[in-house]
Symmetry: C2
Subunit: 191 residues, 2 copies
Amino acid sequence: MEALKQRIIQDGRILPGNIVKVDGFLNHQVDTKFVGEMADEFAKLFDISKVTKILTAEASGIALAAVCSYKYGIPMVFAKKAKSDNIEGGLYQSAIFSYTYKKKVTLICAKEWINSNDKVLIIDDFMANGEAMRGLLGIVEQAGAELVGIGVAVEKGFQHGGDKLREDGYPVKSLAIIDSADENGFVFRED
Amino acid sequence: MEALKQRIIQDGRILPGNIVKVDGFLNHQVDTKFVGEMADEFAKLFDISKVTKILTAEASGIALAAVCSYKYGIPMVFAKKAKSDNIEGGLYQSAIFSYTYKKKVTLICAKEWINSNDKVLIIDDFMANGEAMRGLLGIVEQAGAELVGIGVAVEKGFQHGGDKLREDGYPVKSLAIIDSADENGFVFRED
């Protein structure tokens, strides 16, 4: 998505350690008008007509998923990050390692909200090593639901989480793939 | 908002300890079509035309705020919950006590995204004792921004956080105020 690449160049920041910040328009302040354009792009990449549920993870994926959900007229579910090991029953659980928090985090989702009749589109704002995405895929699998696709706004290609998922056969589509982000600026993968 | 009260009666659950769960349509699974109707209600209660920024707190307020933001064409900001005491500079910070997590939590917001020129509408999905709302108000105050209003979807009236804010002169509007939730079901405050 050319407009997203331009927006990343304009408003994105690169911090030491190849950290990419897009918190001016995507995941702290959110330009929901622009996010609506991203939703339109996802609608070109996936067969939205068959999707029954949009799934994302708290917290930063929620705004993007909510706008997609609203525009498509499909309910969304956000998986929660369990705050303790004391997790009640009736939940799908996916343990992941969070590089952001440098610890194990468990994504949880009440079984009531996704089941084997659902056709799920996973939407997330960001993908690096793909750990959070593996967690969401675990929830879809535990539910016995069908995966329609995985839509990511910004993928850090140089951390290869997306590439590994594609190698494993998952239908991952990212609106912008950053192949390098350093003192020389951003380099994007060709579409 | 009559439709919200009916939806709470239909889909809400009351757990021991007067805990109210509306996670089937508002803050786990989200019916964004219905949330869009809530956004329309808020637009009747506040002068949206003067609002420059919508502010909420992660995670459960984000979906509602995102739909409001998208419908009104106004950017949103979500305050984050700091995961450690090691908080970087350039941030507004509001310490609150989280009854959900039974510990002190600090709401943080980068100074870049709200400033003294902003006219802020705070939106949140839920209010009980009002601690999280006090935290958001602290951010607005630190920014020197103008508060246009506080819009809440579901207020637990029997925990009095909203009443105290109204006594303090804050323009709080809740779409549904639950005055009791126990084995006898829900009782709502009259509009």
